[in-house]
């Protein structure tokens, strides 16, 4: 009995339960993606190799030592071979990270390294490097009543009239202990993403945005060493350059030769979406002030 899920608008079937994903709205349609346990090849043809992975136009192979090996093919199938004794939650972590990212690239769906929330039926994206504060911003706004669209990977596509649309992920976030503290959310009862890390899975019960929304604005989060908070618009040619740097696992995309497939979505973002760089100190001491500034700015 396979499990059926919906994420990023795709109908996914899986032979194992994947905690945190949203059940499929309709499990009678032909699945877009199948996830199975099985034999994973040791190498793929015509691939460019990175440190943990190799990638060709149609295949992606990820070897997370002591966790699992993942084979992603044709944007349709993910095969997982876990190493013995690994917790399901750890196998799932890289499935919903690098493997899912590769699958989206294979399908020509643009994964931005961004979290997203909904404001008046429009999507607001928070992009940035790992550790830049994407999830903390989204979680903080979610606490204030803004529905969550996606955490960490937001899929963007060009909709009617070339307007950029954000596709919803699944109702779950990953947050470090210090972010939970800043959000007054106790870690008790939450599951660590891995037994060794003070980083937790936070399920989003109410307030998940399940339908795609047009994108209103994208913020790129940066840390700086001043107490002041700066919000500066990015315009002109710099915008395309900045947006490209925020594509999820960009080097994997380049190894796949998937750059051109994302042209329409990147162009849609660049043409229609205001982009601003937010610089603030990396500590979370002034989170409330930052959120208040962002709330004003994103409504403008």
């Amino acid at each position: 009995m396979p499990f059926h899920y919906t994420l990023y608008g795709l109908h996914v079937t899986s032979e194992m339960a994947i905690a945190g994903l949203r059940p499929a709205d309709d499990d009678t349609t032909t699945p877009d993606v199948t996830i199975v346990y099985g034999m994973v090849p040791t190498a793929i043809a015509d691939a460019k190799a990175g440190v943990t992975y190799s990638a060709s136009a149609r295949e992606f192979l990820l070897d997370m030592a002591d966790v699992a090996r993942y084979h992603v093919a044709d944007g349709r199938q993910i095969t997982i071979a876990p190493y013995p004794g690994v917790p399901d939650s750890t196998v799932r972590l890289f499935l919903l990270g690098s493997a899912l990212g590769a699958l989206l690239h294979q399908r020509g769906m643009l994964p931005m390294h961004a979290s997203a929330i909904a404001l008046d039926d429009m999507a607001i994206l928070f992009a940035g490097a790992s550790g830049a504060g994407k999830s903390t911003m989204a979680a903080s706004l979610h606490q204030r009543g803004y529905p969550l669209i996606a955490d960490d990977i937001t899929v963007v596509y060009a909709g009617a009239q070339g307007r950029p649309i954000a596709a919803p992920a699944f109702p779950q976030m990953k947050l470090w202990a210090q972010s939970l503290t800043a959000l007054d959310t106790p870690a008790e009862g939450l599951t660590r993403i891995r037994p060794e890390l003070e980083k937790y899975t936070l399920p989003i019960g109410d307030g998940f945005q399940a339908a795609p929304l047009p994108i209103k604005k994208l913020y790129l989060l940066h840390a700086h060493n001043k107490p002041e908070i700066e919000i500066k618009p990015v315009t002109g040619m710099a915008k395309i350059r900045v947006l490209r740097t925020q594509v999820y696992h960009r080097r994997v995309m380049e190894y796949m030769g998937a750059d051109s497939a994302h042209f329409a979505a990147i162009t849609a973002l660049a043409m229609h979406t205001p982009v601003a760089i937010v610089r603030r100190s990396s500590d979370l001491l002034r989170l409330d002030e930052l959120i208040a500034l962002l709330e004003t700015d994103m409504r403008a």
């Binding site: 990175g50 440190v51 943990t52 992975y53 990820l62 997370m64 030592a65 972590l93 890289f94 990270g97 690098s98 490097a129 790992s130 550790g131 830049a132 990953k174 470090w176 202990a177 210090q178 972010s179 503290t181 993403i193 891995r194 060794e196 890390l197 003070e198 980083k199 840390a223 700086h224 060493n225 001043k226 107490p227 696992h249 960009r250 080097r251 994997v252 100190s281 990396s282 500590d283």
Partner: protein
Amino acid sequence: MNGITWLASYPKSGNTWMRVFLTNYWRDADTPADINALDETPIASSRPMFDEVLGVDSTDLTRAEIDRLRPAVYKAHAFDPDDPRVEGQFCKIHDAYLILPDGQPMFPAEVTAGAIYILRNPFDVAVSYANHSAKPIPWAVRALNDPTHTLAESRLGAASQLHQPLSTWSGHVESWMSAQGFPIHLARYEDMIVDPVESFRAVVRFIGGDADSDAGRARIDKAIRFSEFGELKKQEEEKGFREKMIKATSFFNQGKSGTWRDKLTPDQIETLRAAHAPAMLRYGYLDGEGNITC
């Protein structure tokens, strides 16, 4: 030179001064380099660089996994055809020269062209490190003597850099100076202060530059002038310095040697001297009778 040249030091030992000198030397321009544009000498522990090369987010990895993957990341990075840097690959680095549990070094010799090790006496380092970290001096003294001391240590969140084990002050210098398989040039901060011309000529020779012709010497003299302490301080006062810690008053403080004599207590001096006597003797900070010479 093929491969990475590490600009290695314990924190607050003159690494930034070395990077500013090299940047000015390479630019060979009519005006001083911008201290906020030292792009030719990025830090080896950059989390975004690591994630980009790895294709997996390091914020989902354990420390042991990150440590184990770092050598492969530097191997991939060293041969990255997209690296835009024009002067070869120079990387600032504060990690000790670590040997992993499998016996392999974290910074592989086969992709290393060489290392410039910048050394400063532990007394001045303690004073400057306390300043930099906005912590009291006893904290810095403990840090220099703590074999487990680690930069970007945060276990409750993700810092913008990977965690960097430093070892003790002695452990740091000994780890780098005993590294095998590539040439290492030792540059003492105190020598850079007393005789910048000879110190930086030696650095230029080490990286294969011309330190002896009239033109070569003029270029080095100019780069030294453009990286003088007054220039760095002036730029920081005018525009700030992005590598300053948020709580620190300034990054460039004194630019001198020996300020520890007014800042450390006799107890602190003795604690550091006792912990680091062999290395201090070896690198000329103690004489044969155990007297402090810096």
